[in-house]
């Protein structure tokens, strides 16, 4: 260790407090930087998990290759391993989707089930070649319903267009429009598999527009359904068959499957086609491999991208620029702190540097001393910072990692800690740069200190006259001590500026970050589908017919026994558009939506002299509004009426019931900072009527006539005018449970179901449930519905509880991250303020001793310090609070584009900011003064070098 390093280390040891605070500052900023970089690497890993979840874990794929080619690929030395599936055949299954008429049976090996996105929803994977799993969209899209345990006997075969054999990559060529369909064929798969198959080009060239395809039956196979799985990512949207998976054993080599058609079949000898999804030993090689193969293969774009093999995406741009901004902010905050620490250290040792220069230290050696100081503090700060950063983000992700699906990806995946070497390297790099930038400028100053200046110590006091006048108010309030403090403040403005700037920055950051947080929370909460049920089941007649009250009632009785529900309701619903006179609406509503009576109408009136005229015009104009009409199960509705004190004679009259209506507008009230409900209709009772088409009768007509009726709206034989009367409930009265979803505005009317169904037809009904354990109840209900063929698709059964949880999770995540950021940045600012103020006080030891020696009392000192504290606080807040308000306003502006909100200031944060600014300043001052007051006056007066 050379002598300069020794001097540096000893100086660091002597100024222990400042060194510790500097190191803490470095630790804080490094841990924040690490948190950002490690978070980005974890996020990238999460994106990769999601990409694998959707597309599967493979690098490249070839679809529809024959056994020979498949074997070649499997044996290639560059290929690490490959998942294999064989096309067993297509079978007609009576799908209602005319472009997807088949079930496509695919035999897959273990690796396929392991790596490909086969996500079981109910049941289990097939364990042998006579078991099968079906995709859920077979029911939801194709309308073909099976349940676990069903045995399917399928006549399977291959599709041909003329002589050309077709694969899953060739869309269905139907009877009437084979032309248009062939053109759509190929790579429009939408899930990142930018590929197609080997036969495709061939097929297009030869058969476009020739004739429809046909299915050549080859064999009969029998399968037992063991479960259902999510619509797979490897099935193109244009694929003609729903992919059913069975197990294939390629243990004896794929050649066994090569000509596996039953003997005696006319097409025996025709080979089966394979889909092969491979992983390379070196993922990078996949592009060259696919190119060289001479076949049309595909690459797993997303997976390759997120594992860092290829990077032609917005992901890197968006996330790296996001990370860049954050790191920039952190570096900005920390540089001001660390820079200050070094600047103080240098100015405190001005004399030391000068002295060393006078006995022959070169400039390089002087600079080297400061940079060595930087190295020494980062030697401790950076490793500790990185560890605490990893711990911090690790703990954070532990708590909120499972909530990230609220923003992106599947809720089955957790964003967990993934520490990549690159992330750590980036953190170290940025941390080092931060410290070095902070040290460089002060080291320049150390170099500039000339020996003679240091010996004379003449640089410190250089005051321009005329700038030292003190105000009368200061004199009155703080006396002589105040004047002294004020003069000191003015004399060394530079030293103070650092403190004021760091206080200013932390004020602005704190207030604006909390307003951002508060506005975001408002926005997300405002967008909540605030509902009063946990689970909703949308029944739509499986047979496609209209619902009957008796059926729904009996279904309801069955459903409520399936799981442990705490309450439930079922209701049919119709949404109708109705024109109502503008005069019936409240002024608030009209004003809010800026609804004025028809402009043309207004123009026709020459002179609107008095308000009565306007009312007349308004009375004549109409406004269309959508009304949701509900029919609630009679007995449940009766319970509701009794519970809320409504007259059952009036509202439950099955022959001629009055409806109960809710007509509300919800508007954001900036003063209350929440949404308030405002009545939408003036009167307490209203009557509407609307025209309903009798679809059942109309459907019996030929299409052209039916079309005519729809367009003309005239033929009253097919159109019923339905009048509805209803009473408007009070603003705060709730609808029957399940119907209270929050909406911006609207009218909802409830009737008993049998009355509703006597007036209108519908094919659907919704069952609303609440449960103490919504997740369990959901699963039980799902199982029951699937087993009984009542589960049509993933939209049949909605776990609202889970969805609301998603929204709440989003708020939690936003809060955790923004408050974490605020707290850490504030801590950095705090360390900064502490360092500057305490050093400033220490540097004035001699001055204080002098004042004491000429008789200044403790009280006098306190007055002087108080005045200084107030100067610091007021100066920083005078600039900081308006700046923070400006930022808040900008935040409001950008948020209000997307969400309804009113401008308000985060007063509680302002109070906290003001309070903490003064608390920090005063406590630091008191801390330093206490140390100084222990000094002996004469000793301090003697201080000359240090």
């Amino acid at each position: 260790m050379n002598i300069f390093h020794k001097v540096t280390l000893k100086s660091l040891a002597i100024n222990r407090t400042r060194t510790v605070v500097t190191i803490i500052g470095i630790i804080l900023s490094v841990s924040m930087i690490t948190a950002v970089t490690v978070f980005i690497s974890s996020l990238q890993d999460y994106m990769l998990d999601n990409a694998i979840y959707v597309n599967g874990d493979w690098h490249g794929a070839f679809n529809g290759v024959n056994a020979g080619t498949a074997a070649e690929i499997l044996n290639d030395s560059r290929v690490e391993s490959a998942a294999l599936a064989v096309g067993i055949g297509y079978a007609e299954i009576g799908s209602r989707n005319e472009y997807k008429p088949y079930l496509f049976i695919m035999g897959a090996d273990d690796l396929f089930f392991e790596r490909m996105p086969v996500h079981i929803i109910g049941g289990r994977l097939p364990l042998s070649d006579d078991e099968i799993i079906l995709p859920v969209h077979l029911a939801s899209n194709g309308g073909v319903v099976y349940k676990t345990g069903d045995v399917l006997s399928l006549e399977t075969g291959d599709r041909y267009a003329g002589d050309i054999r077709l694969t899953q990559q060739n869309p269905y060529i139907s009877n009437d429009n084979s032309d248009s369909h062939i053109e759509n064929s190929g790579s429009a798969d939408g899930d990142g598999n930018a590929g197609s198959d080997v036969n495709e080009g061939h097929v297009e060239n030869n058969i476009a527009g020739v004739r429809p395809e046909e299915l050549k039956i080859m064999e009969t196979r029998t399968y037992t359904v063991t479960g259902f799985y999510e619509r797979p990512g490897f099935e193109d949207y244009s694929a003609p068959g729903y992919t059913a998976l069975t197990k294939a054993d390629f243990g004896s080599g794929i050649s066994g499957y090569a000509d596996g058609y039953p003997e005696g079949n006319s097409d025996a000898g025709q080979t089966r086609l394979f889909d092969i999804y491979l992983k390379m030993k070196f993922p990078k090689n996949i592009f060259a491999y696919v190119d060289e193969s001479g076949m049309t293969g595909s690459t797993n774009t997303d997976v390759l991208m997120y594992s860092g093999v290829s990077r032609y995406s917005n992901f890197y741009y968006v996330f790296y620029s996001f990370a860049g901004i954050l790191i920039g902010l952190i570096m900005f905050g920390s540089i001001s702190l660390i820079y200050n620490a070094f600047a103080i250290s240098v100015s405190e040792r001005t004399r030391q540097f000068g002295l060393l220069a006078s006995i022959g230290a070169t400039k390089r050696q002087a600079r080297g001393m400061v940079l060595f100081e930087a190295l020494a503090v980062s030697g401790i700060g950076i490793p500790v910072g990185i560890i605490s950063g990893i711990l911090g983000i690790g703990v954070t992700l532990r708590f909120v990692g499972d909530k990230f699906y609220a923003f992106y990806g599947s809720e089955k995946l957790v964003l967990d800690l993934d520490i990549s070497a690159a992330a750590l390297a980036a953190a170290v790099f940025f941390a080092f740069v931060t410290v070095m930038i902070s040290a460089w400028v002060p080291s320049g100053r150390a170099v500039r200190i000339s020996a003679i200046d240091a010996i004379r110590l003449s640089k410190d006091i250089r005051v321009k006259s005329g700038k030292m006048k003190s105000s009368l108010i200061t004199r009155k309030l703080f006396g002589l001590e105040g004047i002294l403090a004020g003069k000191y403040f003015k004399r060394s403005k530079k030293k103070y500026r650092a403190t004021v700037v760091s206080l200013f920055m932390s004020t602005v950051l704190f207030i604006s970050a909390s307003s951002l947080c508060s506005y975001l929370t408002d926005a997300v909460t405002g967008a909540f589908q605030d509902s009063d049920y946990d689970i909703a089941y949308y029944y739509s007649g499986v047979s496609g017919g209209y619902v009957s009250y008796d059926y729904l009632n009996s279904l309801y009785r069955k459903l409520i026994t399936v799981a442990d529900f705490s309450s439930s309701v079922y209701a049919v619903e119709k949404t109708i558009g109705v024109k109502m006179p503008v005069a019936q609406f409240t002024d608030e509503y009209l004003e809010y939506y800026n609804i004025t009576p028809d402009a043309a109408y207004m123009a026709g009136t020459d002179n609107v002299a008095n308000t009565a005229d306007i009312d007349d015009i308004a009375g004549a104009a109409e406004h269309e509004i959508f009304i949701r009409v509900f029919g609630i199960g009679d007995d449940l509705y009766e319970q509701y009426l009794l519970l809320n004190g409504f007259d059952t004679d009036i509202y439950l009259d099955i022959a001629d019931a009055r409806g109960l209506g809710q007509a509300l507008l919800s508007r954001f009230d900036a003063s209350l900072q929440r949404f308030v409900k405002i009545p939408l209709l003036k009167e307490k009772t209203a009557e509407i009527s609307f025209a309903a088409v009798d679809r059942e009768r109309r459907e019996l007509l030929p299409e052209s006539e039916s079309q005519y009726i729809v367009q003309s709206n005239e033929n009253s034989d097919y159109i019923k005018i339905i009048p509805l009367k209803f009473d408007v409930m009070e603003v705060d009265t709730r609808l029957a449970e399940g119907l209270n979803t929050s909406e911006k505005y609207g009218i909802k009317i409830m009737y008993p179901m049998s009355y509703f169904l006597s007036k209108m037809n519908t094919k659907t009904c919704t069952f609303y449930f609440r449960a103490d354990n919504p997740q369990k109840a959901f699963e039980q209900l799902e199982e029951y519905l699937m087993a009984n063929g009542l589960y049509k698709d993933e939209y049949s059964l909605i776990n609202t509880y889970e969805m609301n949880k998603t929204d709440r999770n989003m708020v939690t995540v936003i809060k955790v991250f923004s408050y974490g950021f605020i707290i850490l940045i504030s801590l950095i600012a705090l360390a900064n303020v502490f360092n500057t103020i305490s050093t400033n006080v220490m540097l004035r030891r001699r001055e204080f001793a002098m004042l004491r020696s000429v008789g200044m009392t403790e009280r006098g000192f306190r007055r002087m310090m108080n005045y200084e504290c107030i100067l610091y606080g007021v100066k920083s807040l005078i600039w900081g609070i308006p700046a923070a308000f400006l930022v808040t306003w900008l935040i409001f502006r950008s948020i209000s584009r997307a969400f309804e909100t009113g401008f308000y200031l985060p007063w509680s944060s302002v109070v906290i900011a003001v309070g903490s600014v003064f608390a920090v300043v005063f406590s630091t001052m008191m801390y330093s003064m206490r140390i100084i007051s222990r000094d002996n006056v004469i000793d301090s007066l003697r201080i000359d070098t240090e």
Partner: protein, 227 residues
């Protein structure tokens, strides 16, 4: 042998009305082994002259030659090395590095050079200075006289061409002052070292071989007292 030549040194502080001529055309030569005392009232330019000779301050005009080398024709780094090897500076307020011990303070110029310490020379020096046994003490553990002896040690460690002392006894009592002067005389005799000392103390000045008096930045008297 001429070791130092000062030619028409001028140093001007400030501009216009507030212009101060600290040095106004000072010229003199010094032979190796001379012991020169510079005397003069406060503000006469003594210290400025000494600092310019020592390479820590720059003259407004004029030149300083040491061993026939133009001191201020060197760049900053060369100047630093010059200070390190050719000059030993002693101040009134010792100016020791408080975090370094006696040994480190004395050997600082050698350490800065990155050279090895000549143990023999250091031993001899510390015995001469009467600091034996105090090598590991920090400056604040020493008396004023001891501290000044440390700073003399530092100035002599590299055996520089010229030792410049700026009122080295200004802060000491008469006993300590005499000891310091004896040390300087000893080094002058034993190593044939050229010594230039600024002093207010007539007693000390009279012990020098040559006295230069300065007033208002000019040499008013330059007489050789003894050979």
């Amino acid at each position: 042998m001429e070791i130092l030549r000062v030619e028409k040194l001028t140093k001007i502080y400030g501009k216009g009305e507030s212009e101060v001529r600290a040095l106004d055309g000072v010229s003199f030569c010094a032979e190796q082994g001379e012991f020169i005392a510079i005397i003069g009232p406060s503000g006469s330019g003594k210290s400025t002259l000494l600092h310019i000779i020592g390479g820590v301050d720059r003259p407004t005009s004029g030149a300083v030659y040491m061993n026939d080398r133009d001191v201020y024709a060197q760049n900053e780094d060369q100047l630093a090395i010059f200070r390190r090897r050719q000059v030993g500076l002693i101040y009134q307020f010792y100016n020791l590095i408080p975090v370094l011990d006696v040994m480190e303070n004395i050997t600082l110029p050698v350490l800065m050079d990155g050279r090895k310490i000549n143990a023999e020379r250091f031993d001899e020096l510390i015995k001469t200075l009467g600091l034996k046994g105090r090598e590991k003490h920090l400056p604040n553990q020493l008396s004023g006289g001891q501290q000044q002896r440390v700073s003399i040690g530092r100035a002599l460690m590299n055996a520089p061409a010229v030792v410049l002392a700026d009122e080295p006894t200004g802060n000491l009592d008469s006993k300590n002052s005499q000891e310091i002067v004896e040390l300087l005389k000893l080094s002058n005799r034993r190593y044939n070292q050229t010594i230039i000392i600024i002093t207010h103390d007539e007693n000390i000045a009279l012990q020098a071989k040559r006295i230069i008096a300065i007033e208002d930045g000019r040499i008013t008297r330059d007489e050789v007292m003894r050979k």
